[in-house]
């Protein structure tokens, strides 16, 4: 499997070639190739145990790869111990030294490299993370968010070629996490260092990263920009793990130029662009047709006549609704597929759309994607929740 985040041949790219890790008989990371462009914000996204942290630790040198090589620019660092690699890590638990104050924590890397006058740099770095007033406190006197910023400062002050972040926001509450996501993104833009960020939070990955590698069971499922992954998931795992997807089992019944026509159970005909179907599309082939809940519109069955021509339509009955402020989420049972999810913005609410009401779901066929039917339709659903 060859995955390339970029085609650029920058001198500071991180390149993993055929890297894998085996613990006894357990294959934590399947052999994978990955290139992270210099200066980019790259996310390794996956559920716990998918091998993303192991991959990160192999780049840091904390884990020795079973096979493969790690290249920083043109330099092979596979055999180097962590303290000889121009790479720094922000650990999941921060791992701040409890016996040293914030100043000494941040200065630690500089001092180990024999730099005597650290005062100016430490001051600047503490200002960057807005902790200038806390230099003489001990880590345990700081809040979680402040400790997290110290951990970032302690790693960044060394001007690493690559900054590795291992679920650095996992321990923070939601509001602080949002704030720190923006903060980290700001710092990354400011210092221009390559960030490789490991997370299980798809929202976090999409907010921060320029490109994302979605990992599952030790392999990279798909790699791309957040928008690309969301709009064109290549596997059911990615479709379900990144956001929510409605996946409908269908069979190809025809093709008209760029438009493929498929038929679901109950004879419901849908069309999708051939370019967005990653599976073979010969007549009679099984295809999973996917559409994101927010791309669908919902109309009461009585208004079916007002739906413009050329849209995909699925009739059904509302099984449940939940009002969440900006939108209302509907669960619709249909002959084509049970449990279709639809998110409708709360602009004009139709009072008839209550559980039990007959409705028609409709959407622009361009928003439909197709996946091979040979995979688990529910893959990634549990991992995402």
């Amino acid at each position: 499997m060859t995955e390339t985040a970029s085609t650029g041949q920058g001198g500071g790219d991180v390149r993993l070639t055929g890297i894998s890790k085996k613990y006894g008989s357990f294959q934590a990371v399947q052999p994978l190739d990955l290139t992270v462009q210099q200066g980019s914000f790259f996310a390794l996204l996956g559920a716990s145990g998918c091998g993303k942290t192991t991959t990160l630790r192999m780049i840091a040198g904390l884990e020795e790869p079973t096979t493969g090589t790690v290249l920083l620019g043109d330099r092979d660092v596979t055999g180097l111990p962590p303290y000889k690699r121009p790479v720094n890590t922000v650990f999941q638990s921060y791992a701040l030294f409890p016996h040293l104050d914030i100043y000494e924590n941040v200065a630690f890397g500089l001092r180990r490299r024999g730099i005597k006058s650290v005062k100016k740099q430490v001051g600047e770095m503490l200002d960057l993370v807005q902790l200038g007033d806390y230099a003489r406190r001990k880590p345990q006197q700081l809040s979680g968010g402040q400790q997290q910023r110290v951990a970032v400062a302690r790693a960044l002050i060394n001007r690493p070629q690559v900054l590795l972040l291992d679920e650095p926001l996992g321990a923070l509450d939601l509001k602080l996490r949002r704030q720190m996501q923006l903060e980290l993104k700001r710092i990354q833009t400011e210092v221009g260092v390559t960030f490789i960020h490991v997370t299980h939070d798809q929202e976090e990955a999409m907010t921060m990263a320029d490109s994302i590698a979605v990992m599952s069971a030790g392999r990279v499922e798909q790699l791309g920009t957040p928008g690309d992954l969301y709009e064109n998931p290549g596997t059911t795992f990615v479709a379900n793990f990144l956001g929510t997807s409605n996946l409908i089992e269908t069979e190809v019944v025809g093709r008209d130029g760029d438009a493929i026509t498929v038929s679901g159970s109950g004879g419901c005909k849908l069309t999708l662009p051939a370019a967005r179907c990653s599976a073979p599309t010969g007549n009679g082939r099984k295809v999973l047709v996917g559409v994101r809940p927010e791309k669908m519109a919902i109309s009461h069955a009585d208004d079916a006549g007002t739906i413009p021509e050329g849209r995909n339509r699925v009739p059904g009955r509302i099984a449940g609704t939940s009002f969440i402020g900006v939108s209302t989420q509907y669960v619709v049972d249909s002959a084509v597929c049970p449990r279709l999810e639809v998110y409708a913005q709360n602009i004009e609410r139709d009072g008839r759309l209550a559980p039990g009401a007959d409705v028609v779901l409709h959407w622009n066929p361009q928003h439909t994607f197709g996946l091979g039917a040979d995979q688990d339709i529910a893959a990634g659903e549990e991992a995402a929740s």
Binding site: G61, F91, S93, H99
Partner: protein
């Protein structure tokens, strides 16, 4: 020992108070009830003997005519003048034994805490296994181990180690028994678990990820030890050295069984003054001087180590 049997929620004797107030007062008293057994224990087995010995130390008289409190503080001065070599020797032996315990115990505690894996509990049991045998018997066993002409002495002698120790005045001739080396060896052996256990506890608490973080921040394994592991284990070092130094400076069994008249420690003097010479005032005065010296040394040490808050 009445306190342990008295239930803390015994019905109150006064019935006139409103129930809520009664419950409140009873709740406030619970901590004191819980403290009572400990306080009683300390009064009976610590404070009373202490006061009794203090009064003994300023008495004069003889066994036949009885002892009277005469506030004879001269005893202290006389005792110190007569036995200061034994005092100094005790402190020296205890310090050397403590240092040896640290040198031997630290690597062992480190190994158990970080490298032992699933053998960790077994190794800890082995560390405390000597306690299953009496202190006296273990010390007597060293008499056999270090016996003249035994394998240990034979090896040390043929390896010319005894020549070096003899030059330093730790051994004499081709003997180990009845020399300072034997006494210090015995002390080191007997108090080693008291060093290892606190060291282990403080090392074991260190998050392994801190080692990874140090390595990630350009620290070599040795620098990681110097800058992270050792400073973080200081509370263990301090309590381990105290737990070793304090009892060994007052010990008399090792000096008695493994040493000679020339290696007598202050503990042996106190013991013989109490039980053989029957000069109770001198024995009591010596005890108080030892206590004061140890307290002084320990306070100075803790101040210097700067770990008051870590204890």
């Amino acid at each position: 020992m009445t306190a342990t049997t008295a239930p803390p929620d015994a019905p109150p004797v006064t019935g006139g108070e409103p129930p809520r107030r009664r419950a409140f007062r009873r709740g406030r008293l619970v901590p004191y009830w819980l403290l009572l057994p400990g306080i009683l224990w300390l009064i009976v087995f610590f404070l009373v003997p202490l006061v009794y010995q203090a009064s003994t130390s300023v008495q004069t008289g003889s066994l036949e005519n009885g002892f009277q409190v005469t506030w004879h503080f001269q005893t202290y001065w006389d005792a110190l003048q007569q036995y200061y070599p034994q005092f100094l020797r005790s402190l020296l032996y205890a310090a050397v034994a403590t240092l040896l315990c640290l040198v031997v115990g630290y690597p062992l505690a480190y190994l158990i805490a970080f490298r032992a894996g699933r053998h960790r509990n077994l190794l800890l049991v082995l560390v405390i296994a000597p306690f299953f045998t009496s202190f006296l018997i273990r010390t007597l066993a060293w008499k056999t181990i270090l016996a003249d002409g035994g394998p240990v002495v034979g090896f040390l002698s043929s390896a010319h180690i005894l020549d070096i120790t003899a030059a330093l005045g730790w051994t004499s001739g081709h003997r180990v028994l009845a020399t300072p080396l034997a006494v210090v060896t015995g002390l080191t052996y007997n108090f080693l678990p008291f060093m290892i256990l606190p060291l282990y506890t403080s090392l074991e608490r260190i998050d392994h990820r801190l080692h990874e973080a140090a390595g990630d921040l350009y620290a070599t394994p040795w620098t990681t030890f110097r800058k992270v592991t050792f400073p973080m284990s200081l509370p263990g070092v301090v309590s381990g050295t105290l737990l070793t130094f304090i009892p060994s400076s007052g010990d008399y069994v090792n000096a008695q069984l493994l040493g000679s008249a020339d290696t007598k420690m202050i503990g042996s003097v106190i013991q013989s003054q109490f039980l053989t010479v029957l000069d109770y005032p001198t024995a009591a005065a010596l005890s108080f001087i030892l206590m004061a010296v140890v307290l002084f040394v320990v306070t100075f040490y803790i101040r210097r180590a700067g770990t008051e808050e870590l204890l």
